[in-house]
Amino acid sequence: MFSRLFDTARSAASFTAIDLALRLTLLDLLLRPVGNWLIRPLVLGLAVAGLINVAWLRQPLVWLVLAVLLALRVYLDWPLADNHAYLLVYWCLAVALACCYADRQILISNARLLIGLVFAFACVWKFAVSGDYMNASFFKFIFIVDPRFEGFVQVVANVDLEVLERLREHVEQHRDGEFSVPGLAEIPAALTYLAVAATIWNLFINAALALTFLWPGGGRLVAVRHGLLLSYCVVTYAIATVDGFGWLLLAMGVALCGSEQRRWRAAYVSVFVLILFYREVPWAQLLSA
């Protein structure tokens, strides 16, 4: 196996279909750089090399080094690294293995299982472990305290910025072991309805993604998987600007597309670009102004 690390893909034809997935992964690393002063330039350098040179794109050692660098980043940041950081490690390792064995099926299996498991564990937290998700408290909380949702809340729930700031002050007040009644803030009904809707949508889409991706087999399920994943990315990343995670999910989704599935690949690329627009154009703030 060691000698395979230094071979470029031995079967170029079988890899043409996944080249797009690999390129989108490297683009993700370029658009959302990660790591400290030592890791970041190395990751960026490998990403650029892979994008401009197809031999490097399919070189197993490149992906293995990326996986090691990204794992080192998680270790150095412990316990602060977010979920995206871990998924990058697993995905780069999967790509390294697929390139090493020149077997596209390895990448397809890993993409499907990784996506399914991500949402399965998200479901474990949302449905079972977290005590404040199912009752919509989480979304009420996050819509108030996280400034990234400000524009969205103003536009959709028609909540004034002043009201939001007052609610934020109420939620972020420092209380150790006290529970006093004075100063109870009234949460606007529209904000509560928005939180309930967001909760229901996320419970549904997380469960649907987990089930469809972990369920073995193909046929019509393939289209359902693509549709659900694209819908999730279009809706979620319009509101929560965690673009790196979205781009990574899309790159993994592209890896699941057969060579004949041009339209699905085009859809994934379109949503990849859409998320870039979400990041660069503050649509919610513009609409609320």
């Binding site: 196996m1 998680v74 412990w78 316990p79 602060l80 690294a81 977010d82 979920n83 950081a85 871990y86 998924l87 490690v89 697993y90 995905w91 390792l93 999967a94 293995l97 064995y101 077997d103 390895i106 299996s109 890993n110 299982l113 990784l114 498991l117 991500v118 949402f119 564990f121 998200a122 474990v124 937290w125 949302k126 472990v129 977290s130 005590g131 404040d132 998700y133 009752n135 408290s137 989480f138 009420k140 909380f141 996050i142 108030i144 305290v145 609610l167 109420h170 939620v171 972020e172 420092h174 209380r175 150790d176 072991g177 006290e178 529970f179 109870l184 803030a185 009234e186 949460i187 929560a240």
Partner: protein, 139 residues
């Protein structure tokens, strides 16, 4: 090592890390938002919702110490995963920042608090997640 195991290494790693995150959340109060368990955006218990107090006890008197800005990342790590080891390292760092290599405190106490929110009004109530006491004879 069989090929079948090697090619499934990424999802196996994901499962192992995520299960470990669930374990650490239950046993060491690791924040749901950290640790690779995909609990982000599932709980109000984010690292930003937690806070920390450091007190020194000396001859029956208690005084809170403010931690310097240089320890901000260390404080964030300690609130995200408030293990005894991390809190001890933080206590040492705060003590040194406050008094250099010599001090005469009986005890340093580190408290980590997490907020819970009343469902209808989001009134916050901080609950003590972890309290550790340290006696440092010297550095």
């Amino acid at each position: 090592m069989p090929k079948r195991f090697i090619i499934l290494l990424p999802p196996l790693l994901l499962v192992a890390v995520a299960l470990n995150q669930l374990r650490l959340s239950a046993t060491e109060s690791l924040s749901p938002w950290s640790g690779g368990g995909f609990g982000m955006f599932a709980s109000t218990d984010s690292p930003g919702s937690r806070h920390l107090h450091v007190y020194v006890h000396n001859a029956g008197a208690r005084k809170e110490i403010a931690f310097p800005a240089s320890l901000e990342i260390q404080v964030l790590r300690a609130t995200t995963l408030p293990s005894r080891y991390r809190l001890e390292q933080l206590a040492r760092a705060v003590a040194v920042a406050e008094s250099g290599s010599s001090f005469s405190w009986d005890e340093i106490v580190v408290e980590v608090w997490a907020n819970e929110y009343q469902p209808d009004t989001l009134m916050p109530l901080a609950e003590l997640l972890r309290e550790e006491r340290f006696v440092f004879s010297s550095f």
